[in-house]
């Protein structure tokens, strides 16, 4: 297994769900203030569309040109992986195009709750 894949796999095994509960309403406000520059719900912009991202495998939104690193990651976006991603996307998946991070755990939990609310089929 290549070193990078091994590191990523190891990281995934040790990811724990975020400890804080998310507020989807506040998450929507945060998303509209901080994420909307690069993302839309139903269109690919600088970043991929976000509706349905929770529960989706990384790198699979139709029509978006992902980095090879993210396409090869095989991450499924859930509360734990999204928390790691939003905390430091380039530390989580080296080589990704995503650069923006959310420093505060509560902010991350709120945005994740909002994204989950857009994916009702998710657990």
């Amino acid at each position: 297994m290549p070193l990078r894949a091994a590191i990523l796999f190891s990281a995934l095994l040790t990811v724990a769900p975020p400890a804080v509960a998310g507020d989807a309403a506040h998450g929507q406000a945060l998303w509209e203030a901080k994420c909307i520059a690069c993302h839309a719900l139903d269109a690919n912009k600088v970043g991929p569309k976000h509706r349905g991202v929770y529960g989706r495998e990384a790198g699979t939104a139709p029509g978006y040109s992902y980095s090879p690193a993210l396409k090869a990651s095989h991450i499924v976006w859930d509360a734990a992986s999204l928390d790691m991603w939003l905390k430091g996307p380039r530390a989580f998946v080296p080589g990704t195009k995503m650069t923006f991070s959310l420093a505060q755990p509560q902010d991350r939990a709120d945005v994740i709750a909002y994204l989950k609310s857009l994916s009702p089929a998710a657990d």
Binding site: E32, A33, K34, C35, I36, A37, C38, A40, A43, N44, K45, V46, R90, P94, G95, K97, T99, F100, S101, L102, A103, Q104, D107
Partner: protein
């Protein structure tokens, strides 16, 4: 032009050698300042940028392309009258200045600048079909400017080059200026709390 010499100590080169990063010329980093009139003494001693920085600059370029497209859509809508139209044209000119500086810098750093979409594609991305009034145009612009300001602030920690981080902060200041003016035009209250921008 990519240059891996004369920029970093062996230890720094070793540190930055992983994850596909390439150390780039300090002179090229300074181009962003010069191309957009951002010249400052800080750029005379610009630190090395990396290919990861180029990726961040391309994200910024994508935002600038979209902003230019959004203001074009607004200006061509016929919904804006002076002074709002004049404001939109001025802000679009700022974004064009940002774009030109970013394209020049990405090229000099050896990267490939992200191409703009068509105005029609931006119209679809931004939901322009729902825009019916001048207030709708201003609210869309306000939303995009706020997002851009926060994005530029949010990516500052991602830059290997502190000089590019400073440029990102200056771009954020421009976007904040736009957001503030648009908020005033819309009669919106300014944030009641301090530190309302950024991650």
């Amino acid at each position: 032009m990519i240059s891996t010499s004369n920029l970093a100590s062996p230890a720094r080169r070793a540190f930055m050698g992983g994850a596909g990063r390439t150390v780039l010329s300090a002179a090229a980093v300074g181009l962003l300042a010069n191309a957009a009139g951002f010249g400052s003494p800080a750029f005379a001693k610009a630190k090395a940028a990396t290919s990861a920085d180029v990726d961040v600059l391309n994200v910024a370029l994508g935002l600038e392309h979209e902003a230019i497209g959004a203001y074009q859509i607004g200006a061509e809508s016929g919904l804006l009258k002076p002074p709002a139209l004049k404001l939109a044209v001025l802000f679009q000119s700022h974004h064009k200045g940002h774009r030109d500086a970013l394209v020049a810098t990405i090229g000099k750093l050896g990267g490939t600048a992200l191409a703009a979409k068509t105005t029609a594609e931006y119209a679809a991305d931004l939901g322009a079909a729902a825009i019916k009034t001048d207030l709708d145009v201003l609210k869309l612009a306000q939303k995009l400017e706020l997002g851009a300001a926060n994005a530029y602030l949010g990516v500052i920690p991602s830059f290997e080059s502190r000089d590019l981080a400073q440029v990102s902060a200056r771009l954020a200041a421009d976007e904040t200026m736009h957001w503030t003016a648009l908020s005033g035009a819309l009669g919106d209250m300014l944030p009641a709390q301090p530190l309302s921008f950024g991650a």
